[in-house]
Amino acid sequence: MSWFSQTLTSSIGKKLLMALTGLFLITFLVIHAGINAMIFYNDGGETFTHWGHFMGTNPIIRTLEIGLVAGFLIHIIDGFLLWKTNNDARPVNYAVNNPSANSTWYSRSMGLLGTLLLIFLVIHTAHFWIPNRSNQFATGEELNLYQMMLDIFKNIWVVLIYVAGCFSLYWHLLHGFKSAFQTLGWNHVKYNRFVSFIGTAYAIVIPLLFALMPISIYFGWVQ
């Protein structure tokens, strides 16, 4: 193995990949939440569609989208590899264990929360991204995403799945944001509190913003 692949497949290397792709996906979520929040203008989707059109057709954004898909895939595959390594490291479990005495449940459940998010991601892309891009490839025309949102979020079960997805995202980010900085070695007395504050704020604001979208449409606050 070359030094490069040796590095990335080591325990710290796998964590490095998780941290880098995790922070990349965190920046993506800012854009995603920002543009989707245009529905709150409540202008019949005019602003949202304007920016959706830009994101869906701009060649630079479309090229970056390949990187986004790669980022998701690396984060998911590397997550499963880490889960395997970590699971194998303790073949016999404790009969009596009290982990809540030393750590938070969500920090110990990143694999579970990540798997829930993966299931949500499949449902979510099947609702919007996959049909829209398929249509673009087939006909060159974009779908009316705003109208699709209004239709899809009429179903209370879909709304509940999206809210559950946002809760998973909240706990995943609550640990993941700070954890990424620790993995990258950014543990410094001058910045620890700042990173912790931003991490917590981010983990609350972004999932809350996302959760408000299906809820607002279901209750007709956004039409």
Partner: protein
Amino acid sequence: MEGNMNLSLKVWRQSNKDTAGGFENYNLDSVSPDMSFLEMFDVLNEKLVVEGKEPIAFDHDCREGICGSCAMYINGRPHGPLKGVTTCQLHMRSFNDGDTIVVEPWRAKAFPVLKDLVVDRDAFDRIMSSGGFISVNTGNAQDANSLPVPKEAADDAFSAAACIACGACVAACKNASAMLFVSAKISQLALLPQGQAERSIRAEKMVAQMDAEGFGACTNTGACSAECPKEISMSNIARMNREYIGAKFSSTAV
């Protein structure tokens, strides 16, 4: 005596590496609250010997919290319920009359159970011999002030060197990761001038050996540091990550 306790103990018994183990129940009466946890085990073992039974094997040496030998997973936590305390320094006053106490060995693939509560921690020694040292050429001792060490670096190195390699970090970690131990050992040398010559190759080799031993990776839950009897800081793991990633991308060792 007044204040003495009656306890039920559930202890892991396993005759050797290759056989399956199981829990045995023991009742121990009149346990003094002033006994240490290991002294309580001594009393239990004397009782077992008198009864013609096999005493419980457990690791111990200094019994004053500095050697790192004792290793018991007590009621679901390494070294029991107290913070910053080894099993030998845990006293029975931390328990109540009538308690049931469950005692298990450290559980990790890299720490196979040898007998009862004794696990094989040679993996730590192999990690140390892969790079956890400095090479010193023989000759006259240097003048004490020829190597200036900033006070802060000395303090941080000392805090990392407080690690007694007991393995509680591995035992506490949901991934059985040894990163707190390895990071403490890498840090104590990386912070001092004497450690500079082998700094990058040390990080590379010790992490490679750690992985080869079958320890898990770090999820940054902080369980290791919370349970560490020497309260080694998680900042050491961040330093190890910097040392390792920096070494991998800049050293000339291909």
